[in-house]
Structures are given as structure tokens and as C-alpha cells.
């Protein structure tokens, strides 16, 4: 069981800020593949990975990072604070 969080326009496209996902995905990229296969809104949100960033357990990570032990994965666009 893994919490998956979405922020900004990723949240808007997927339609929820957070959900719990049952997954055996080994990497973030694997998880993205699973999500893409679910519904059109996921495919739309994950269409261009270069426009996305990912955090594993609140640390910025890469799409090929392993998910072993992760409790929380978040997807969002590049940050625009400051």
C-alpha cells in the first residue's frame, strides 16, 4: 500500500490530491506505467514525464529511483515558489 500524491495541474488532471495504491512497482517509472494504464486522466497527466517531478517520501527523486520501502510518492510539475 502506497500513498500517491498529486500537486498543481497534475492534481487537477487526475482529479484527486491523494490516493492509496496497491502496487508491486519496483521503480517510479513502473508505477507511472501502471497508473497510465488505469484511465485516460492518468494517461493525460503522465503524458510527458519531462514536465514532471517526483518525490519519494518527501525527497526529490528520479523516475528510475527504486520504490522499495517507500510509503509516499508525489508527482508534480517543476516548482515555482519564491
Amino acid at each position: 500500500m502506497m500513498n500517491v500524491l498529486y500537486f498543481a495541474w497534475v492534481r487537477e488532471r487526475i482529479g484527486v490530491p491523494k490516493e492509496t495504491v496497491e502496487t508491486q512497482a519496483e521503480t517510479v517509472a513502473d508505477l507511472v506505467e501502471e497508473l497510465r494504464g488505469r484511465e485516460e486522466r492518468y494517461a493525460a497527466a503522465f503524458a510527458d514525464l519531462s514536465a514532471l517531478r517526483v518525490a519519494i517520501d518527501q525527497e526529490l527523486s528520479e523516475f528510475d529511483s527504486p520504490l522499495k520501502g517507500a510509503r509516499e510518492v508525489a508527482f508534480f510539475p517543476p516548482m515555482t515558489g519564491g
Binding site: 500524491l5 500537486f7 498543481a8 495541474w9 492534481r11 518525490a55 518527501q58 525527497e59 526529490l60 508525489a74 508534480f76 510539475p77 517543476p78 516548482m79 515555482t80 515558489g81 519564491g82
Partner: protein, 153 residues
């Protein structure tokens, strides 16, 4: 020991009062530098409001990591970071970074470093609401590129 103060809040803050408090708490050093980011109107002057979304938990961790890194790289007495989320209007203060140091060069460099990292590494997203609709602000390539100068040394 560097004093690090971080606040992520949805309420407005008084940058001047924060600057004075920060200076008073650090009067043993000579140089205080502050950066304040304000909500700027759109080119069409039709910004109704800006909404800032953030990632509670990760935001505070990211800001702490960035401040710790600055405190390690430069000779600082104190670092202050304040960042708002939620609804903001034109002219309001979005955020503030301040450094107190013995020498001004360290303070300036650390403040720029904090800003560069905060822009591209702290999980905040801005959305602008105007007459013509709502748009997420695009990240600027220049902001990502600005990080490059801190990795060489």
C-alpha cells in the same frame, strides 16, 4: 551555531517587522540582507489573485535542507525563511529570505543561494487567476539554470 528560522504560513506577514526583529536578534554581526518576493501584476494588469499550493511536510523539510546547506557553506549567524501559501493579491509579500553575517559577501551569496534553491527545489506552485482564466505559472529555465553556479565550488 547558526540560528535557522523557517515558516510556511497562509497568513500575511510584515516584512519590515521581521527584518527589524531579525536585525535585533543578530546585532553582534554587521551585515543583514533580505530578499522579499512580491505578487506582481500580469502584463495586462488583470491579476485577480494568486494561489500558492504547496506540499505540507516536504516543504518544511526542503526549506530546512536548503537553509542547513547555506549555513554550512557560508559563515552566517542566522538564516530566516518565510513563505506563504494560499490566496495572495497584487503587491502582497509572497516570501522573504534573510541572512545575518559578519561579512556582507557571505550574506549576499547565501541569500542568492537560498533564493536559487528555494525557487527550484521547494515544493510550491503558483496559479494566477485573471479575467481571462486561471493558469499555472510555468517554471523558468533560468531558475533551474541558476543552480548550476553553486555546484562548481
Amino acid at each position: 551555531m547558526v540560528s535557522i528560522s523557517i515558516s510556511v504560513q497562509d497568513t500575511a506577514f510584515d516584512a519590515g517587522a521581521m527584518l527589524n526583529d531579525f536585525s535585533n536578534e543578530n546585532s553582534q554581526v554587521g551585515a543583514v540582507i533580505s530578499f522579499t518576493g512580491l505578487v506582481r501584476d500580469t502584463p495586462d494588469n488583470d491579476l485577480d489573485r494568486m494561489v500558492i499550493e504547496h506540499y505540507p511536510g516536504m516543504t518544511e523539510r526542503a526549506l530546512q535542507t536548503i537553509a542547513d546547506e547555506a549555513a554550512q557553506r557560508w559563515d552566517l549567524a542566522a538564516v530566516l525563511v518565510i513563505h506563504r501559501f494560499g490566496d495572495l493579491h497584487v503587491g502582497e509579500q509572497i516570501m522573504m529570505v534573510a541572512t545575518a553575517s559578519r561579512h556582507r559577501t557571505a550574506g549576499f551569496e547565501a541569500a542568492e543561494f537560498l533564493m536559487d534553491y528555494l525557487k527550484s527545489r521547494a515544493p510550491f506552485w503558483k496559479k494566477e487567476f485573471t479575467k481571462s482564466g486561471a493558469e499555472w505559472v510555468d517554471a523558468k529555465d533560468a531558475d533551474e539554470a541558476a543552480l548550476g553556479r553553486w555546484s562548481a565550488d
